[in-house]
């Protein structure tokens, strides 16, 4: 079942009083980005000038413990790419392009009807996919231990992302950085498919009759879609950054925010998206082993800048990249091919089968990441209480909580939460695989036979995570 302009859900702009008014204010996005921007730059400063010990530095605790948990376990499932709505990283670049923080400029030079500064070059067609995001995220995560434990590394990466985003906004039109480069955007794109909310047109016929296309080209009321998608044709959440511009620009008042069933978008449309799913589930597995596992040697290998075991790191990095880019895709390809043979549907192109079945990894991967993140917040959440009083780790005690003892919050309850989370992930994975098999092979026995290999593989993956978490 794909979300489509015609799909039915609860129209939140009608159901929630005041929401439409709020989201259609021109100042809305600026108002939510601004406080986030202040926090972000404080974290960069804390990362550079604060304590090098991660558990005593607000940049590590707030970003990699609190933000990460809220992002993966709350924001993405409940509110799709709402992080992109409030993200401070493209702030300066977008400000440069628009020469406005709140208002709209109309005229030339620009994009569509909007006047925009910068070179306004088109992003290269060859890179108009998420391969760059795939590789940049995998690369960052290969050095993940340094990133999430060393404040200075985190600060440099944050600052680097802002610099890169600003430079790309100067050269390329609209949010090329967010759409094609940002490593965070890539996995938000993938897992937003599961989210309970979507932005869609209310009535597709109204969009079909519309000649104005202000949602795409912009106008007096708002900017054309900064993500360069056609809001009137949105049928998946992947590339909608929830900036709410289309709610403001639509001259027919035909765009809305809907609540919908979990995992309403199930289809991946290209190898880049499928590989994002492979990379993400491989990283969930790797991080569950490295960070949450008991094996010291693997921790040493993943932490070469401190432990100096670069040979071990080469082995770890090679294994991680092989798992993400070769082993997991090969297993899914083999299962998909076997499914096609079992279904007796050798006439269906293998690409269609492979991409269709790869969609099972979206709910499974998201739930694996949520399960991984549960002990992270339960065990380390109490550091939040410390760092709000001593954000730089310099001996301050602003709120009197700097010496609050490390107090894990019922860490023994984590497995009892992780098991149902994995169960939900597998349920939606099996449902996604079954849905695709029925659409590809028909509703008869062929669908059941065709889905079987991928269903068994998905169950094996879920059992593997279960063993890691509670075995």
């Amino acid at each position: 079942m794909n979300g489509s302009p015609a799909s039915k859900g609860i129209d939140l702009l009608r159901a929630v009083p005041g929401l439409k008014w709020l989201l259609t204010r021109r100042w809305f996005q600026f108002a939510v980005v601004l406080p986030n921007l202040a926090f972000f730059y404080f974290f960069v400063i804390a990362g550079v000038f604060g304590s090098p010990v991660g558990s005593r530095n607000i940049s590590i605790i707030f970003v990699w413990i609190l933000w990460w948990f809220l992002l993966i376990a709350v924001m993405v499932p409940l509110a799709s790419r709402v992080w992109c709505t409030v993200c401070p990283i493209p702030f300066f670049g977008e400000w440069y392009q628009r020469r406005a923080l709140i208002g709209v400029r109309v005229g030339k030079p620009g994009v569509g009807r909007n006047q925009m500064a910068g070179f306004n070059k088109r992003w290269p067609k060859a890179l108009s996919n998420i391969w760059l995001q795939n590789f940049s995220f995998l690369l960052l995560c290969t050095f993940g231990v340094a990133l999430i434990t060393r404040p200075i590394v985190s600060a440099l990466v944050f600052a680097g992302l802002v610099g890169l985003a600003t430079a790309l906004h100067v050269v390329y039109r609209q949010r090329a950085f967010c759409s094609y480069v940002c490593p965070i955007s890539g996995f938000l794109s993938l897992y937003s498919m599961c989210s309970f909310i979507e932005i869609r047109s209310e009535d597709p016929d109204t969009c079909a009759r519309c000649t104005d296309k202000a949602c795409l080209a912009g106008g007096d009321a708002g900017w054309g879609c900064p993500w360069n998608v056609n809001p009137s044709k949105l049928d998946r959440n992947n590339y909608c950054g929830l900036c709410t511009e289309c709610l403001k620009t639509c001259t027919h008042d035909n765009m809305t925010v809907r609540a919908r069933p979990f995992c309403s978008d199930t289809r991946l449309k290209g190898y880049d998206e499928a590989y994002k799913a492979f990379i993400m589930i491989s990283l969930a597995l790797a991080y569950s082993v490295v960070l949450m596992g008991p094996w010291g040697t693997i921790k040493d290998w993943a932490n070469p800048t401190e432990r100096g075991r670069w040979g071990g790191f080469a082995l770890y990095a090679s294994a991680l990249w092989a798992l993400a880019l070769v082993i997991v895709p090969a297993l899914f390809y083999a299962a998909s091919r076997l499914g096609r043979r079992f279904a007796g549907a050798t006439h269906v192109p293998m690409k269609e089968i492979f991409l269709g079945f790869s969609g099972v990894l979206v709910p499974l991967g998201l739930m694996a990441w949520i399960a991984f993140s549960i002990p992270l917040i339960l065990v380390n959440g109490s550091y939040i209480i410390n760092v709000v009083s001593d954000p730089m780790g310099r001996g301050w005690d602003l709120l009197g909580t700097a010496r609050f003892p490390w107090t894990p919050f019922y860490p023994q309850s984590a497995p009892y939460l992780q098991v149902p989370v994995l169960f939900i992930g597998l349920y939606y994975a099996l449902r996604s695989g079954d849905g695709f098999a029925r659409s590809a092979f028909g509703a008869g026995p062929a669908a059941a036979k065709g889905a079987a290999p991928v269903a068994i593989l998905s169950t094996a993956v879920a059992c593997g995570f279960l063993w890691l978490f509670v075995g």
């Binding site: 090098p52 010990v53 991660g54 558990s55 005593r56 231990v145 434990t149 060393r150 490295v290 960070l291 949450m292 008991p294 094996w295 010291g296 040697t297 921790k299 040493d300 932490n303 401190e306 002990p375 065990v379 380390n380 550091y383 003892p405 490390w406 107090t407 894990p408 860490p411 023994q412 497995p415 009892y416 098991v419 994995l422 169960f423 597998l426 349920y427 099996l430 079954d434 028909g442 509703a443 008869g444 026995p445 062929a446 669908a447 059941a448 889905a451 079987a452 269903a455 068994i456 169950t459 879920a462 059992c463 279960l466 063993w467 509670v470 075995g471």
Partner: protein
């Protein structure tokens, strides 16, 4: 009706899985453990419910902690010291006791992590080991439930395909 049968399959598989694990008779186990940045050795302790564990823990580098979740135990492991300083998180006002070995009964079944509780370096929050106390019914029940979900899905798919002309 079909959904009820599917739920029954999942429930039965989870229950069967939970009943499957077994444990041997309790015994006393003496374990020598070392702590270093960022690992315990042994990293995994597999015991049976009711076992008495006698742990002698030494640090190979800096001061480490040993916090065993669900067992109300927190230990300071000081390099070159023959003693462990044992305290109970539920009794924060009580002074730590100096002991040569940490003794406790594994009276709960399942998987429990022991973690370093003294900041010992950059990867300190991830320094942990595992105490696996048999019978681990959550693992058995979880695996049974996941396999039950697969079987339930197969059942529904086969019922549907049988009804399709």
């Amino acid at each position: 009706m079909k959904v009820a049968v599917a739920l029954l399959i999942v429930g039965a598989a989870a229950a069967a899985g939970a009943l499957f694990p077994s444990a041997s008779a309790p015994q006393e186990r003496r374990i020598k453990m070392t702590a270093r940045q960022y690992a315990f050795d042994p990293a995994v302790l597999k015991v049976n419910k009711g076992d008495t564990l006698r742990l002698r823990i030494t640090s190979l580098d800096v001061t480490h902690g040993f916090f065993l979740e669900a067992f109300d135990l927190k230990v300071a492991i000081i390099p070159d010291s023959p003693y462990l300083e044992v305290s109970h998180p539920s009794r924060p006002d009580e002074a730590p006791k100096k002991v040569e070995e940490l003794v406790f009964v594994a009276d709960k079944a399942g998987k429990f992590r022991y973690r370093c509780s003294r900041t010992c370096g950059s990867m300190h929050p991830f320094m942990q080991g595992e105490l696996v106390v048999a019978p681990n019914r959550l693992l058995g029940g979880g695996l049974g439930g996941l396999l039950g979900l697969l079987f339930a899905g197969a059942f529904l798919a086969l019922r549907r395909s049988a009804a399709t002309p």
